[in-house]
Symmetry: C2
Subunit: 220 residues, 2 copies
DNA sequence: AGATCATTCAAGCGATAACTTGAATAATAG
DNA sequence: CTATTATTCAAGTTATCGCTTGAATGATCT
């Protein structure tokens, strides 16, 4: 800084961007968007080793994207504030809007067929109120238990085959998962549409839903 | 992608973040926020070698943050769209809001004294209309020539000493430069306040002013 | 205090990125 | 067509990052 204040400033901005530049850390942030977590839980969810996970988390903390507190022996991490979420969203928007590569990957996910437009959270809330929609929560059971959209059915991708017969073929289905970074809902919609259902994806995931101030049900 | 669609997606998002993770590229983006430029001009402004500059620009192009076109022998680069600017702004917001380090650097720039709040662009426009403010453009002359706020005086930091006597000591001064990443206006305000002037900084720079749809004057 | 558990630190390895130098490509002028 | 100018490509060097392994810290429980 004594050398060049300008460069020092840019170095700080770059530090934040660099923290977002590794897929492993984006996975961690996506998990943390669901709620605060300990190191071990994060390591298990992301498939990283404990030590590696810890190092990534410290890097995120250095960039002030996450903060941590102690709870007994455990250290609990959480997103610093909504800015972190906004930054992740914007990163995704720029990538998806601009990169043809991403387009192709998403096409691959939806089996080459054109995926329908996602349902806005406002529309979904209205249709839940009038009972004209079946809502699927396509996340692991523990995340569902920790909080989900009221009335949503929890099913993992592997459970789809078994649960499909329980669904009313005439009903419209809306699937959601962790959020824009998460591909579970994409895959669920693809699978359901192949079986003739009218399925669409929710715009955003549970973090965005919660961010809107909409109701979230936690299992007792 | 055939291995893991999810990881491939995250890799794309990470690519965008990685493009923003080098100070050199942030400098280039800041320059491009002023308007489109050729490789040589960018290299000169940022102090990079031509080859190095070209490589950074290609990296930004791969992340779709900038696009390019040919103009004769020259290749002209520009920001892809407003999303790039938004992403830079958000990066800055997160860094400045969260990093104590950045706080200290900015304090250092303002000589330890508390800097006044920046003037909003709306306020500045109103006060220009009523003629109750002196506007300083603290950028290099060529950038001033390419476009500036109507009525603004152009002065570089090194010129401040000479030009100060020409200014009405009673007038309120508002300084602006390239934008939030740029520290020229910060330094100008500090220098002026040391000399007893009532000086404040514009919130944002010329790119943001232009983005608002406000008038920009180009020298004939 | 000693044992135990969760997390962090430290050292080492392979891969990747930034920068330099020198050559290759593309468009234009003579 | 050749020369010129602007940009890009390619190879090489140094520094940094991500990951692994093994040891060190810090808080709790007996």
């Amino acid at each position: 800084m004594s050398i060049s204040p300008k460069l020092a400033l840019l170095e700080e901005y770059a530090l934040v961007a660099r923290a977002l530049s590794a897929p492993a850390r984006l996975m961690l942030l996506e998990q943390l968007a669901q709620g605060e977590r300990g190191v071990e839980a994060l390591a298990e969810k992301t498939g990283l080793t404990i030590a590696n996970c810890s190092q990534h988390l410290q890097q995120l903390r250095r960039a002030a994207l996450v903060t941590s507190r102690r709870d007994g022996k455990a250290v609990i991490y959480r997103l610093t504030d909504a800015n972190t979420l906004t930054l992740m969203d914007l990163l995704r928007i720029v990538a998806e809007r601009n990169l043809a590569q991403v387009e192709r990957i998403l096409r691959g996910l939806s089996g080459g067929e054109d995926a329908p437009e996602p349902v806005s959270r406002e529309d979904l809330a209205a249709r839940i109120a009038e009972g004209s929609v079946t809502v699927l929560d396509v996340r692991p059971a523990d995340e569902y238990t920790a909080g989900h959209i009221p009335g949503a059915l929890n099913m993992t991708l592997t459970d789809i085959e078994r649960i499909v017969p329980m669904l009313d073929p005439a009903a419209e289905i809306v699937a959601y998962c962790r959020g824009p970074y998460c591909v579970y809902a994409h895959q669920a919609v693809t699978a359901l549409r192949k079986r003739g259902f009218t399925a669409r994806r929710l715009d955003g995931g549970l973090p965005e839903w919660r961010e809107d101030g909409r109701p979230v049900l936690t299992e007792a």
